[in-house]
Structure formats: structure tokens, C-alpha cells
Symmetry: C2
Amino acid sequence: MKYLLTHKTHPTVEEIYDALHDEIATLSKTTIYNTLKLFVEKGAAAQLNIEDKCVHFDGDISTHAHFMCQRCGTIYDIFPSKMPIIEDFASLQFGAHNVQNVQLNLIGICERCMKNKNKESKQK
Amino acid sequence: MKYLLTHKTHPTVEEIYDALHDEIATLSKTTIYNTLKLFVEKGAAAQLNIEDKCVHFDGDISTHAHFMCQRCGTIYDIFPSKMPIIEDFASLQFGAHNVQNVQLNLIGICERCMKNKNKESKQK
DNA sequence: AATACGATTTGATATGATTACAAATTTACA
DNA sequence: TGTAAATTTGTAATCATATCAAATCGTATT
């Protein structure tokens, strides 16, 4: 949990394992899977299904959206302060259905990768 | 593609395979994977990463959101006619990043499952 | 109609994330 | 300190998806 709260990179299980394996030599992936599942069930962390390859986790459970770069894989936070409409999505109702969770995901190419792309095309 | 357009159930590869295997006896899952990937790349279909287990596909590429029931797995369409705010997310910008796709996913328990749940608890 | 060749489809196999589960370890408390 | 419960671990199973070479198909040409 401390790792999640101090690393806002929306890590995967793999990334958490690689990062913590040094200080906690006995740590197993199973424990990470179990613990994250518990966090998500209890509402202490958010699970991001933004990518099909694997799941990302977020220790910030405040209302916010995400932007994922298809090229470099980086996931950026988008907070309501920058995009006020996000507040409106958080409280969406859908008929008589019981909405428990709202995820707003933007997908595209991030600014940095856009610049690299331009450089590449200029080189040709 | 015809299957996707006539079955608004947001099927998985598995479901498409099961459905089409009867009429197209030689159809392989690889072909379904390849074809759907192509559709998504070309913008003819949408890929839904709403669930962590597997990917769903949608032949409707008009602006709309989805609600997934955690209990029965059904994915419901939410069109702007019912929820006007959905029109707004189609044009979301995020700084100088290049937004190519926006997904709005609601997760919860659908009306039908809510009713069944109540019945169950009354029986106890 | 037969041939040739590129494009598509297939199926067997590989991969990689996630889960299941029993054994090992740790913790809490008597 | 001893013991039972809770947690953690590592191995093996599972399952969706990717890889890739071989098989098949479509089409144009003779």
C-alpha cells in the first residue's frame, strides 16, 4: 500500500514485484495478487482495465480519469481541476441499475511520443 | 462483421467462435482474433477493456458508454439520448496529448440482478 | 481447364498473466 | 513457550491471446 501511495505510476503486479523484491526478498507474486485484490474489494485501491495486456493499479481513489499512451504505455492522471467535467461523470446514474464504479479512460499518443514521432519522420 | 452488427451483446472471441462455428465449420479462433484486431485498427469495431478476464468487441462505433453488471456479466449500451453528457466525452482534449479514443465504463449491479438479490435475501 | 502465385485461413504450439492450493512461515495470544 | 489461526509462499494449473509455418483459397493468366 505504501508503494502504491508513493508511486503514482499505476504499476502492474510485475512492476510492484520487481520494485519490492529487493527490500522484501521473500515477497511472492501471489501475495501481491492477493493483497491488491483485497485492496480493490475494500475500496482502498482502484483497478484499471485500460489495457488488454495486463491490469494496472492506482492507490489514488479520488475522482479522476486516465490517459494512456499507446506508444510508451505511460498512464497519466487527469484530475477534475484540469478537466472539470470529470466531476460530472463520477456521479452518473443509469436507470434503476446500481452503479458502483465509473471509469473514464482516454487513449492516444502522449505529447512526448508525438514529438519523437515528428523527429523520426523528419529524419526520413 | 455481420455477426458483430447483428448481435449487440459485446461478444468475446470465445462467444463469436461458439456462435459461428456451426455455420462456418472450418472457422478458427486465430482468424477471429486476426479479423477483430484488423477491425479495431481500422476503426470498424471497438474493443472494450471493461473486464480484466477477457476483451469484448462492439460493432457499434458511435459515441456511447457501457455499463457492465459484475454479477451476470451483461454489458449494456448507454446512448447519448439517455445520458446527454456522453456526447461531451467524444471531444475531450487533454493538453497537447493526442486523444484518439475515449471509453466511459460504468460498473455495478444491473436492475435484474438487484431484484434477484433482494429475493435471495428475503428467502433467508 | 490447368497452372501459378499472392492472400487468407488454419491449427498446433508458445507465451504470459492470473489463479488454485497445499505447504511453510509468521503472528497473536494463552 | 506452546499452540492455533492467519498470512505468505512457491509450484503447478488455467486460460486468453500471440506466433508461425503449413494448408487452403482466390484470382489472373495461359
